[in-house]
Amino acid sequence: MDSALQDKIPTFGAKGQKADVSLGGGMSSLMSGPSRSAFEIFIIIMVAVVIIGGTELAIRLLEVPLYIFPPPSAIGMALVTEWPFLWPHLVTTLCELLIGFSIGASVGFVLAAVITQFPFAEKIITPYILLLVTTPMLALVPLLVLRFGFGWEPRIIAVALASGPMVMINSATGFRRVDLAKIALARSFGASTFQIFTKIRIPMAMPMIMVGLMVGSIFGLLTTVGAEMVGGAEGLGNRLNYYSSMIRMPQFFAVITLLAVIGISIYVIFFLIGKKWTSWES
């Protein structure tokens, strides 16, 4: 990767006054750094306590049956007691997501970089990419199961097919943002096509590439879980099926909680990377 991407961006953000990054605008209000006062933290915690406590109280007062909606305390307990049985599934899900997303994202990125250099080829390929973006890849899982069985292959293929086009379509938007003056600048110093690509085009496209990676990874997570529910003997999606068929709702919601944590973590990771690499764009 271009060394430009490793730029330290020390001043922005640290002051807590920088403009939002193009992605995750909502996140920056949560994570605006040192400028957040103790009072704000107190309020954030209080609101969380009130919401969780209120849910707990409402469920107990209204005597909502456990199999309809378990109180937060029961979910918490289930998370702790089921953890020894859950974590292997968590690892499976994360591995599938990571491998599928890595394959999909790399192919999507390379395809975007190549295709935007040839407008004609881009016109030909774009409809198929849109087809991949708009078709739920989950629909392919039963088909893939017929070919590959109930192992990890169908799930990884589905994840790659779900995340790759997202990365591609957003990266392509980024690569199309050409600034002829900046390319001319690099050329005037004798830059090769490859140097123009690494030193001008990639950094220029980086904000949109980051958006693609974030959206692609979230789509990947959805597809991973869905694929596990449709055709998997393991993984958190499979656990959702298992617990719901046993009507063990606290355990079911414990899995949902884990999935929410994964999703938010992905968001935060890409938000922070994006903040570091794309803060130049205001």
Binding site: D7, T11, L185, S188, F189, G190, K199, P203, E281, S282
Partner: protein, 264 residues
């Protein structure tokens, strides 16, 4: 002071760059454009040459061709005896509105040409230049934290850091306010006098051209042609206030008349 300054006396008459019968046509959606028509210029070694003309007169096309960034439809451009068909290490270009890379801080912007040429940055030279243009201590700042004048000074440092002998400047100060522009014109005059670079400078401001140039190539539009070549023999260094002297204003008026009275 900054570099081996070529003695301007014996270099006075040697030709640095030659534009020989340059023509350029190109196609747009609305039809063909005849951007340059048989333009010939001999740029002298160490000269400050201004290309002056209205927008659309092909002066940018000509400059980009001299930088080896554009091809010509006819004619040729030579540096010494070497034909220019692609960017040349002896020629550096300074663009409109500084053209810094917003994702790099000032130091890394200035290192860009060295990275491209796969050389170690000449720190000593860069620091000297930064000090010269008053940007010392701003190395870690990003372009958007700098004023327009500072950005353009940084881009001048970026170009001079690789020590070219020819500087091509494409309306570099056009986007600056009048005060900053005067300041930049003084700076570029000083740098030119200190380094003895050959500078070809595009502007559409007559007074900027008269202030800076040894010779002004006045161009007319559609097709881009040379209307006139004017010598400016005002003594140097020229102070900002020279722009209000009658002699200066007369020269500006004379050129204005030349442009106004050309049939088009």
């Amino acid at each position: 002071m900054l570099a081996a300054s070529g003695s301007s006396v014996d270099a006075q008459n040697s030709v640095k760059m030659t534009v020989d019968g340059a023509s350029k046509f190109y196609q747009t959606r609305s039809g063909g454009v005849h951007a340059l028509d048989d333009v010939s210029i001999k740029v002298r070694e160490g000269e400050f040459l201004c290309l002056l003309g209205p927008s659309g007169c092909g002066k940018s096309t000509l400059l980009w061709s001299m930088a080896g960034l554009h091809g010509l439809s006819g004619g040729e451009i030579r540096l010494g005896s070497e034909k220019i068909t692609k960017p040349h290490p002896e020629i550096a270009m300074i663009f409109q509105e500084a053209n810094l890379l917003p994702w790099r801080n000032l130091a890394r912007n200035i290192e860009l040409p060295f990275e491209i040429k796969k050389q170690d940055p000449d720190r000593e030279r860069i620091n000297k230049l930064l000090k010269r243009v008053g940007l010392e201590g701003f190395e870690t700042k990003y372009p958007r934290e700098l004023s327009g004048g500072m950005q353009q000074r940084a881009s001048i440092v970026r170009s001079l850091a690789v020590n070219p002998s020819v500087l091509l400047m494409d309306e570099p100060f056009g986007a600056l306010d009048a005060f900053t522009r005067d300041e930049m014109n003084l700076l570029i005059q000083e740098i030119w006098m200190e380094t003895g670079k050959t500078i070809i400078f595009i502007t559409h401001s007559i007074s900027e051209a008269v202030f800076l140039a040894d010779r002004i190539v006045v161009m007319s539009a559609r097709p881009g042609r040379i209307a006139n070549i004017v010598d400016v023999d005002l003594p140097r260094p020229r102070p900002v206030k020279i722009q209000t002297t009658p002699d200066f204003l007369d020269r500006v008026e004379a050129i204005k008349a030349m442009i106004d009275h050309r049939p088009s």
